[in-house]
């Protein structure tokens, strides 16, 4: 599932400034959240990691990645139970988003 700006496009109704503002916020926050998430995992603090996944999940939803969102949902639930089953898949999703945003022409 590839990220798209369709939600932001629909929401902004052709307001490029708003769309840019949102992209900048995600680009600014997502790498920090992702680093923090890995730090939480390295401490085996899965509750904390799940809280960060919850935050990242919202960013995934803005990019209309429905299947990825479902996986992030499962990952959050599993982490809260102390299971790291979906770590790899979640990493792939976030890396995909970061690459997409960094290469975005906007």
């Amino acid at each position: 599932m590839e990220p798209t700006f369709s939600y932001l496009d629909q929401l902004s109704g052709g307001n490029p400034e708003f769309k840019m503002r949102i992209i900048k916020i995600i680009l600014n926050e997502l790498p920090k959240d992702f680093d923090l998430y890995h730090y939480a995992l390295s401490l085996n603090n899965y509750f904390w990691a799940a809280e960060i996944v919850h935050r990242i999940k919202q960013k995934i939803s803005f990019l209309q990645m429905n299947e990825s969102l479902k996986l992030a949902d499962k990952h959050e639930i599993e982490l809260r139970e102390g299971n790291t089953t979906y770590v790899e898949e979640f990493n792939e999703i976030v890396n995909k988003i970061l690459k997409f945003l960094e290469n975005s022409p906007e």
């Binding site: 929401l11 902004s12 708003f18 916020i25 926050e29 919202q58 939803s61």
Partner: protein, 241 residues
């Protein structure tokens, strides 16, 4: 319509701001990432509507509502659909918007809020009388026994009392005494309207609060811890003032 948004997620706050800006009668007067910040504004002025996230660190949206004595209209914005049923427990919640917020659904929710406020205006309902509070006739003075001498203290000048073993330390404006008593005893002597036990070792004067961070209160130059269990009751108490 004066509104605020409370959401720990900045993109969500920006989206609500953007959608509100499209509505000429909506004035977003505050955008907050933490409930504590929102409380500060709500203690100073009333708002008509709150866009409220449920899942926030430390303090959930539902806990936030429970602390409000007179909650305004509330529109929940959340990605946790499974919590949607809980909204029926709160009269003030008028709608639930799933994230990412659909602009049409946002519009419908806003129209619902408009209608409720218009109906209220038409009926010219008298404001619901507030629950009567305990008699506001607090003792103005307190005598403490220091070296067999009774010292008169103005309670308003006491900033906080700290438990120190078999003693308590009474601190305030030109007040610095160590008294042989318990914090529970002090709490019984001081007016409950303005004094509140925020921690098993601290009793504070609510009127002396300078600032509240997540787990601490600044009074004068002292940082006082807040027990996790005392946060909601403290916020309720602050809202009463």
């Amino acid at each position: 319509m004066d509104c605020i948004v409370l959401d720990d997620e900045s993109v969500s706050r920006e989206i609500v701001r953007f959608l509100c800006e499209k509505e000429p009668d909506i004035k977003l007067i505050g955008s907050f990432s933490s409930p504590i910040e929102a409380f500060k504004l709500l203690n100073q002025q009333e708002v008509d509507l709150i866009f409220l996230d449920i899942h926030m660190p430390d303090f959930s949206g539902f806990e936030f509502i429970q602390t409000l004595k007179k909650p305004p209209l509330i529109i929940i914005t959340s990605s946790d659909v499974e919590q949607a049923t809980e909204v029926f427990d709160y009269e003030s919640i008028i709608d639930f918007l799933k994230k990412p917020i659909n602009p049409d659904k946002f519009q419908k929710a806003i129209n619902k809020a408009r209608k409720i406020l218009e109906d209220k205006e038409e009926k010219k309902e008298k404001p619901i009388a507030r629950t009567s509070r305990p008699s506001a006739n607090p003792a103005r003075h307190l005598y403490i026994n220091i070296d067999k001498k009774l010292i008169k203290l103005e309670v308003q000048k006491i900033s906080f009392v700290e438990a120190q073993g078999d003693y308590v330390s009474v601190q305030g404006e030109a007040i610095d005494y160590r008294v042989h008593t318990t914090l529970t005893n002090m709490a019984q002597k001081l007016p409950e309207e303005i004094f509140f036990r925020v921690h098993r070792s601290y009793l504070i004067n609510l009127l002396k609060i300078i600032d509240i961070q997540d787990n601490t209160i600044l009074i004068d130059k002292s940082v006082i811890p807040i027990s996790r269990s005392k946060r909601v009751p403290l916020m309720q108490k602050l809202n009463l003032i």
